[in-house]
């Protein structure tokens, strides 16, 4: 029998309501870039922790891609040992302040929570964020003790969630780890893609500092493939293993007429200008961005949601989300869809853009659309949208932002002989993240196409364990 810490009977626990986050009112937050959610306070966290049934077979842990011992950390919250709780999480996940904010818990740990069968599941994500924020607020972080020093050098390419996690895990094992990042700041998609109002940069900077506290070196402004190649890393730099976590950074465009008009952005460019370059602070910051009275964002994923909510914050009176399928098929997180609705985002479902319309100066003035209907299921299992018989119509907009998918950046693949790639340049990796080349491992969006932060972290973690095995076998 596993121990329990909460004396309440299950029936009493089930009567406690799921606690919600404290949030910035929608009317205010749509004018600023401050975080939408403030998370739960201590009082709410304690009620939430008391709701946990302390299952003998905690399926929530199986639902977590990185296998956090959720039951134990929630028990520690119940016992008010918040630092014990955050350290328990950190055993499996080195980035709790980030995951507590951007992880889709509703599809993972919370989806399988036993309490959720009849009631609302335990708000595991909110508890994770609570303990991470508590540690931050009280400045109580201490890096884990590294027991052993190992000589082998490992290069991590890309400082997104996969790379950061892989680096942390290997550094904890005592390896000499260097992260190489092409941009001037650490974080990858967490930096350029996810907006400040979902993940404050102070949190990201802090988690990066904690990675450095493990002795990990970080080289920014270093584009692997160009500044040095993977083979040079082995032959000239003396690295023993390499993890590739370069994400899926190449934006796709729809290929409709008018995409070169002024005012059309890829979501990547739009978000990078705002998030990485702080264009929302122009002219204090030099990078410009042009947002008109009405903005159309194309797509139904989290990137589309981030872009449309960002355009609202940049002053768009009308921010439309145009998606060719229906609400039900949207891949975005439900929470983000709700937040977007509260902020006044206008959803145009079953609508497919056919042309961007420009004025005589080459500037966007509208988007021509076709209403769609749902037909037979396609290869994704979702019903395929087909054009309806209705005539096309034009919506007046000054910007079109395309969030219709990304593929891996091809620079490393094209400069690394023997590295096997698949569809859209995805690097082929097996279930322990090994690539076709010995000593080279890959994970995250680079080997998955588009996925989530937590799956990237899972890959980074699995790869770290496999790199450890590989180095032990090869050099010991």
């Amino acid at each position: 029998m596993m121990n329990t810490v909460n004396p309440m009977k299950p029936s009493q626990r089930m009567k406690l309501p799921r606690q919600s986050s404290i949030e910035q009112p929608a009317d205010e937050r749509r004018k600023n870039f401050t975080e939408v959610s403030f998370g739960v306070d201590e009082e709410r966290a304690l009620i939430e922790a008391a709701r946990c049934l302390e299952c003998q077979n905690p399926v929530c842990q199986e639902g977590c891609p990185v296998g956090i011992d959720i039951r134990s950390f929630v028990q520690l919250v119940y016992q008010k040992d918040y630092i014990g709780a955050v350290n328990k999480i950190r055993e499996s996940n080195y980035l709790p302040a980030i995951c507590g904010r951007v992880c889709p818990q509703e599809e993972q740990c919370e989806q399988v929570c036993i309490l959720g069968k009849k009631h609302d599941p335990v708000a595991i994500g909110k508890l994770e964020r609570f303990v991470a924020d508590y540690e931050l607020k009280h400045n109580l972080f201490s890096p884990p003790v590294i027991k052993e020093h190992r000589e082998e050098k490992i290069a991590i390419v890309g400082s997104g969630p996969a790379g950061l996690t892989c680096a942390a895990e290997l550094a904890k094992l005592g390896y000499q780890v260097t992260i190489f990042e092409a941009l001037h700041a650490v974080g990858g998609v967490l930096r350029y893609g996810i907006p400040e109002f979902r993940l404050p940069r102070t949190i990201l900077d802090l988690e990066a500092e904690r990675i450095k506290a493990l002795g990990v070196k970080i080289e920014t402004n270093f584009l692997v493939g160009r500044t040095a190649t993977i083979d040079e890393f082995f032959t000239e730099w003396g690295f023993h293993a390499i993890f590739l976590g370069t994400g899926a950074g190449t934006p796709q465009f729809m290929g409709i007429p008018g995409e070169s008009l002024i005012g059309v952005y890829s979501a990547n460019e739009f978000l990078t200008r705002v998030n990485l370059m702080k264009a929302y602070k122009f002219p204090e910051y030099d990078t410009p961005i042009k947002v008109g009275r009405s903005v159309a964002v194309i797509g139904g994923g989290n990137t589309a949601m981030d872009a449309v909510r960002t355009s609202k914050r940049l002053g768009a009176e009308h921010a439309y989300l145009i998606y060719r399928r229906s609400r039900k098929e949207m891949p975005a997180r439900l929470e983000e869809v709700h937040h977007a609705e509260e902020e006044g985002i206008e959803f145009m479902m079953l609508t497919n853009p056919t042309r961007v319309v420009g004025d005589q100066n080459g500037i966007v003035c509208g988007i021509e659309c076709q209403k769609m209907e749902l037909g037979e299921p396609d290869e994704s299992g979702r019903r395929k949208p087909v054009p309806s018989s209705e005539p096309t119509f034009v919506v007046e907009v000054q910007n079109v932002i395309e969030a219709v998918g990304q593929s891996p950046n091809p620079i490393i693949q094209s400069t690394t002989p023997g590295l096997k790639t698949g569809k859209k340049g995805i690097v082929v990796a097996d279930d322990v993240q090994r690539t076709s080349r010995e000593g080279i491992f890959a994970g995250g969006d680079l080997s998955r196409g588009g996925a989530t932060v937590i799956l990237a972290m899972r890959d980074g973690k699995v790869a770290a364990a496999e790199i450890h095995q590989f180095l032990q076998k090869k050099y010991h």
């Binding site: 350029y192 402004n221 002219p283 042009k290």
Partner: protein
Amino acid sequence: MYQIVKKEILAPTITKYVIRAPYIAPKRKAGNFVIIRSDETGERIPLTLVDSNPAEGTITLIVQALGKTTKALALKNEGDFILDVMGPLGNPTPIETGKIIACVGGGVGTAELYPITKALKDAGNTIYTIVGARSKELVILEPEMAEVSDTLYITTDDGSYKRKGFVTDQLKELLDANLGINMVYAIGPLPMMKAVSNLTKPYHVRTMVSLNAVMVDGTGMCGGCRVTVNGKMKFACVDGPEFEGHEVDFDEMLVRNRSYAAMEKISDDRFAETSHVCRREGMA
């Protein structure tokens, strides 16, 4: 942080910087560029790598102060730092052999043309170089270009130095002279590259141009630098920066490169004001 180890003013508004960048220096090839960000609030801008010295670990940039970022850069002195320098980016120039090539540079584009001309000359090609500038004081790299060319021609718009006229006037004369020119490299302002491409097209002479599009990351991530080449969307940063001039939609690019003209003016005016105040205070 990347230190400016040498700074030299080549012409009014045009400055040469030698910068310590030990990773980039040994990897630079003709045609490559870097992305720089001068300071914390700065923009990321692409600049062509003009030269490098692997032994010293330095790279050379030649920059014309046109907008806020390049003007701020011009205020930096030897010993000062540039916050970020990343590269080398873009595809290196494929170096042809056995050709008779006209290398045409306009304005500060001459600096960008120099490493390519040198590489082509080193590979044994016959090189006719045409350097164009608005006036005598803006002619740069004349001795350097002379050294890597079989023949060097200079044109100035106002006739204040050498031949009066445009680079295209000189180029047309060379093409008509049946010298056997079978390739042209043109680097300079967009209207100049467009004019050169239009000129060479009826002569069926392959013409390469180097496109300096609006960029953010420079690694193929934003798509801001997209250009239409032969009817297809290309990213100047990773698919270029060099393209076949006869296939480039210059008119579209001319419009796109002015996307932020109004905002660039705001930045520029703001900078003029603050840098002016600084200088005044510095004098007091």
